[in-house]
């Protein structure tokens, strides 16, 4: 260990170049290209009926058409705002509940079995009820994301509080820290590795249920886009929608959470742990 700060990040260009020529990057890019070739071969050999199985070229053409005419942006925007709203609400409820679950044996004893019963109910099972309660559109989709996404963040936060080193609690006791200070400056940051893991899971869950929810309860959004393409017999649009989901999910998940981790756990030397 040393007191000397780590050297600043290397200049961007060589890093990018190194990444592009890295073995794993070459392998994974190669695999994706191979996959596209097989796809094209299946299409060319007419192993599947053409009305139900588009070519890669057609699919990417549709993707660009939708980008150009703004329909993709509109649907992505709708899905994304629901996703963000649902996740933020899940975190606002899940983190405090998780902390309280971790701290209070009484609260845990009373509520945990009930929460454990709700947890395995698939998010999509809530969709019909959500439509009855909130109608078709924004609120019902957000509700479904919330009710499916709250569990990972809540359970992980609880685990974080429970596994927090007893020594930190001893320090708080020795200096007679008031409860609120203990929660704010010890429990929450100390549980952050778990909280971030929970948020990652919650984010993934949200992104997965949103498509299904939008197919049923929405007239805009990527889920709607995919479902609507069924009536137009446009499998290329369906697949373009799926590609969009994959890319947005991957990029936002990595960027967002890597950013949070760099600003917290990495800086504090707390990397690792989490479930």
């Amino acid at each position: 260990m040393s007191a000397i700060p780590r050297p600043a990040a290397a200049p961007a260009r060589p890093a990018l170049l190194r990444w592009l020529t890295h073995r794993d990057t070459l392998l994974s890019t190669g695999f994706i290209l191979a996959f596209l070739l097989v796809w094209q071969a299946v299409y060319s050999a007419e192993l599947m009926p053409r009305w139900a199985f588009p070519s890669p070229a057609r699919t990417f053409a549709s993707l660009f058409e939708m980008i150009l005419d703004g329909s993709l942006a509109k649907n992505v925007g709708a899905s994304f705002s629901r996703q963000v709203t649902g996740i933020v609400l899940a975190a606002l409820a899940g983190v405090p509940l998780g902390i309280y679950l971790g701290m209070s044996p009484y609260f845990r004893g009373a509520t945990l079995p009930f929460f454990r019963m709700l947890y395995p109910v698939p998010g999509l099972a809530w969709v019909p009820l959500a439509i009855l309660w909130f109608g078709v559109g924004f609120t019902s989709t957000v509700f479904v994301i919330f009710i499916s996404g709250i569990w990972p963040i809540m359970f992980n936060t609880m685990a974080g509080v429970q596994t927090l080193s007893g020594q930190y609690t001893d320090v708080a006791k020795v200096y007679m820290a008031p409860r609120w200070l203990y929660v704010r400056r010890i429990l929450v940051p100390g549980s952050l590795p778990f909280i971030i893991t929970g948020l990652r899971l919650t984010y993934g869950v949200g992104w997965r249920v949103i498509i299904g929810a939008e197919m049923i309860s929405s007239i805009v959004g990527i889920g709607f886009l995919i479902d609507d393409a069924r009536w137009q017999l446009r499998p290329d649009i369906m697949i373009a929608g799926m590609i969009t989901i994959a890319i947005i999910g991957l990029v936002t998940e990595n960027w967002l959470f890597d950013f949070i981790e760099r600003r917290t756990l990495d800086k504090w030397g707390m990397k690792a742990s989490g479930t």
């Binding site: 260990m1 020795v174 200096y175 952050l192 504090w268 707390m270």
Partner: protein
């Protein structure tokens, strides 16, 4: 507030599956204000347990600890604790770690920072104020932890094998540091160690504890001027005495461990 400590017939019992375990038995000791006391004993003798009882982190099963004339009931502003593995908060800067005790006491933020910096200067780490603990070496971390304890201006500093995790070189530097700080602030120090040399270098008084159940086996006044030289005849003699007594207890404690293991 006073730094005089009286330990009055302290017992500590633990419930365990094989019945009660008696960890401490009828511990008696009187520690004067500003005195440097080392609790020395074989591992598992309950010296850390005793320290935690004095801190108010855990209750005793019998007897009481008096600070001045006040019985200990939980932690108090007159005592601060230095943990063996530092127990610094990785998510706080060094300065915020040192200021934590003050924050807990509701000291205004600017005042916290000012006093934290002042104490970091005392332990020679002012230039690391904005760093996070994982950038520091073990010895530096322990200095931060000592600064955190001093920041709340306790009368009594409780130290639980604070240098146990350090390499020999760093350990000896830290011992000198501690003596320098102690000479400056003149707090009562109760220092747990299993090292005879450490106890002899630091303490006014060494309380030697027996193997479980921990009792005070003997009280040794070192009464030598500091800095002390381990090669001095008087030190060698004290060392030999402590070694003889401690060896008996280590042998007993190892025998106990064997018995425990064969019972399990």
């Amino acid at each position: 507030m006073t730094g005089a400590v009286r330990i009055d017939r302290i017992d500590k019992r633990y419930d365990s599956e094989g019945g009660d375990v008696l960890a401490l038995q009828a511990i008696e000791a009187t520690i004067g204000e500003g005195e440097f006391v080392c609790l020395l004993g074989p591992s598992g003798c309950g010296k850390s347990t005793l320290l935690r009882i004095i801190a108010g982190l855990i209750p005793a099963s019998g007897g009481r600890v008096l600070i001045g004339s006040q019985p200990v009931q939980g932690c108090g502003p007159d005592r601060a604790f230095v943990f063996q593995d530092y127990a610094l908060f990785p998510w706080m800067t060094v300065q915020d770690n040192v200021g934590f005790g003050l924050a807990a006491r509701g000291v205004p933020f600017e005042e916290q920072r000012r006093r934290a910096l002042e104490l970091l200067r005392v332990v020679g780490l002012a230039q690391f104020a904005e760093k996070f603990p994982h950038h520091l070496s073990g010895g530096m971390k322990q200095r931060v932890s000592i600064a955190r304890a001093l920041a709340v201006e306790p009368q009594i500093l409780l130290m639980d094998e604070p240098f146990g995790a350090l390499d020999a070189q760093t350990r000896s530097v830290m011992q000198e540091e501690l003596l320098r700080i102690w000479a400056r602030f003149r707090k009562t120090v109760i220092f747990v160690t299993h090292s005879i040399s450490e106890a002899l270098l630091l303490a006014d008084t060494v309380l030697l504890m027996t193997a479980r159940p921990g009792r005070i086996k003997s009280v040794l006044r070192v009464e030598l001027p500091r800095p002390r030289d381990e090669g001095e005849p008087r030190m060698i003699e004290l060392r030999r005495r402590l070694l003889a007594e401690l060896s008996e207890e280590i042998a007993r404690s190892m025998q106990q461990e064997n018995e425990d293991a064969s019972l399990a």
